[in-house]
């Protein structure tokens, strides 16, 4: 599992918390750049660090970045900055999701995350060492925001406006409030939620495949064990070595993946993809996947994820006149 240390860097996402006068808990996290649109909706600008989505956050005057990662199950905090939250009785033996390969995770209950206007209360977090990500990306990472936080919202990940819009939803997944999306929703696909993973059925060259959708995946991944008919759409360019925080390395094949279709109308241009053995990663995702769609999915589609309805809606990139 050591090799997944470096894959880990491919699976990260962030969250934005905001300033809020009503500080209810001492250990609250605030997303300083979040913007209240109405009582049910918050917009959070993000930056891309390489191919990771990050938002600014503050905890006890400590500023840093959170990675938005639909591939992570829980809120993760960086041990580098939150070692003081670790006490003897919150050490845990196992975690789920991509952090399976983290040696010594620690669980901590976070009382409140405050996005501007929206608050997320009483979330479990795992405290893990993210120093290798900080080193490679040269940024200060406070943590990773995953499924456990995002699932209660409709999440619009907009790579055109570089922002995430979080909208509260009711128990049926209907967006609360009267404000609609002002740009036209042009298409949609269904997905299944398997544990915390968004699982999409698609096909390549007519062969049906199962993909996980992960904002924290800097590059798509495709399982080496797939039939030739599928791999014919993968145009290998190079063998590359991926390095972890330690000296361990693994060689994978890097290339472009063509002809990914998720429906008759939803398909993609070539996507940067790593060909790798996903069997071990499937354990982390808690389901069997043929591939993982990451950054390039969102770079090609402005996507709205509704976890309750298990639907993804698409909005076109504008045509600049």
């Amino acid at each position: 599992m050591r090799y997944f240390l470096f894959v880990y860097c491919l699976f990260i996402t962030s969250v934005v918390f905001c300033n809020n006068d009503k500080r209810l808990y001492d250990d609250a996290f605030y997303f300083t750049k979040a913007e209240i649109i109405d009582e049910n909706t918050t917009r959070i600008p993000f930056k891309l660090v390489d191919r990771l989505i990050v938002i600014e956050g503050v905890h006890n005057d400590k500023k840093g970045l959170f990675i938005i990662d639909t591939g992570s199950e829980k809120l993760l905090l960086n041990k580098v900055h939150f070692s003081h939250l670790i006490s003897r009785n919150n050490r845990i033996e196992n975690t789920t999701g991509v952090i399976d390969f983290v040696d010594d995770p620690v669980e901590k209950r976070i009382q409140q995350l405050l996005f501007q206007g929206l608050s997320v209360n009483d979330k479990r977090s795992n405290i893990i060492d993210m120093s290798h990500i900080e080193k490679s990306k040269k940024i200060k990472i406070l943590g990773i925001i995953g499924y456990d936080v995002l699932k209660d919202y409709e999440v619009f990940i907009d790579m055109y406006l570089n922002q995430i819009t979080l909208s509260k939803i009711d128990k049926h997944g209907e967006k609360l409030g009267s404000q609609r999306y002002l740009e036209k929703v042009v298409d949609s696909i269904d997905f299944k939620l398997k544990n915390h993973t968004i699982v999409i059925e698609g096909n390549i060259n007519g062969k049906n495949l199962t993909f996980g959708l992960d904002t924290g995946a800097e590059f798509n991944q495709l399982n080496t064990k797939l039939p030739n008919k599928v791999l014919q759409s993968f145009y290998p360019k190079e063998r590359i070595k991926l390095l972890g925080a330690s000296d361990s390395s693994i060689e994978v094949i890097f290339g472009l993946l063509y002809r990914v279709k998720l429906s008759e109308t939803v398909y993609f241009g070539p996507m940067k993809t790593i060909l790798t053995n996903l069997n071990s990663m499937n354990e982390a995702f808690g389901t069997k996947l043929d591939g993982i769609l990451g950054h390039d999915f969102f770079a090609q589609k402005r996507a709205i994820i509704n976890y309750k309805k298990e639907k993804i809606y698409f909005i076109n990139f504008p045509t600049i006149r």
Partner: protein, 321 residues
């Protein structure tokens, strides 16, 4: 492709090598023209090539050039994908959009002749970086470019008064991931100076004077950083045109937006043959705006991107990059 040239680490992709991007030597292999990067191969710049198959180092004059290809991290070191156009007997060029290189902070590349011979950069080139494998030098170089680069005609002027006895002053910031070697400032009569071409963004920076990090003493614009200290702020702007088609019967049209605090008089549009125009200098980011046509507030009818503000109003949205 040869492993020794191709050693790429996703993890280390954004690390800079130990070489100094000195402004005393010339940057070779590319230039930036507007929104394009022009890869330029001038055969007079190269003395040696390496045979892909035999690994033999040869003199450049030993063979005829049939074609030249740009090969790098951006095309997975393909030896045939990015064929260059012959400009004259010595020079080959290939133009690409700078925007296509947004994924990475730094890109390494080389030129391949006749799909087989790697042109070896010399140590006289400013933008070389040692090719390495597992951290060990391979005694050859790759060329590299990053989106920020020194340019006498650049858009960001950095200067530091005094420090006549300093041996070396480095400019480091968000534009180069706080690299401590890359941008060495040039000594002037009264201090140190460097001009960069930067993306329109709000950049943070510091000077490193003989190893000591300092903020810019002449710049009052600072922000507290995550380490409790301060970074200086440089806001780089670019010209952004707002164009409203039609409305040729109107007498007066005002451009109002969050960039001018929604002023109803500051920014009058200029009539053209097909509509109205106004150009502003803005830094990168998202802007809300509307037009006031003879006192009537309207959305931009040709812009599909719209958003609510926090008060329930709908505005047109422009992204500046």
């Amino acid at each position: 492709m040869k492993a020794k040239f191709l050693y790429i680490s996703i993890f280390l992709l954004t690390f800079f090598s130990s070489s100094v991007f000195s402004q005393k030597e010339k940057v070779k292999g590319y230039r930036i023209e507007g929104d394009e990067i022009v890869f330029t191969f001038d055969k007079r710049d190269y003395e040696k090539v390496t045979d892909e198959r035999s690994q033999r180092r040869m003199d450049f004059d030993d063979f005829d050039i049939r074609n030249v290809v740009v090969s790098g991290e951006f095309n997975f070191w393909s030896r045939d994908a990015w064929k260059m156009n012959k400009v004259n007997e010595n020079i080959y060029e290939l133009r690409k959009k700078v925007a296509d290189f947004k994924d990475n902070f730094e890109w390494q590349f080389k030129f391949v002749i006749n799909n087989n011979f790697w042109a070896e950069p010399s140590d006289k080139m400013a933008n070389i970086t040692p090719a390495t494998e597992k951290g060990k030098p391979l005694h050859t170089y790759n060329l590299r470019f990053i989106q920020a680069y020194p340019d006498e005609n650049g858009n960001a002027n950095f200067s530091l008064k005094g420090y006549p006895n300093a041996k070396k002053v480095i400019l480091a910031g968000t534009f180069n991931k706080w690299d401590e070697r890359l941008f060495e400032m040039t000594k002037t009569e009264d201090g140190w100076r460097l001009i960069l071409q930067l993306k329109p963004e709000v950049h943070q920076y510091k000077f490193i004077v003989d190893g000591h990090w300092i903020t810019d003493p002449s710049n009052p614009n600072k922000i507290q950083n995550e380490y409790g200290g301060y970074n200086s702020i440089k806001e780089v702007r670019t010209e952004v045109e707002f164009y409203l088609y039609d409305y040729l019967d109107a007498n007066k049209i005002i451009l109002a937006g969050d960039f001018n605090d929604w002023s109803e008089k500051d920014c009058q549009m200029v009539r053209t043959k097909k509509g109205w125009t106004q150009t502003l200098r803005l830094t990168g980011g998202k802007y809300h705006y509307k037009y006031i046509v003879d006192g009537q507030w309207i959305l931009d009818p040709h812009n599909t991107v719209k958003e609510y503000d926090g008060k329930g109003h709908i505005n047109s949205v422009k992204m500046v990059r």
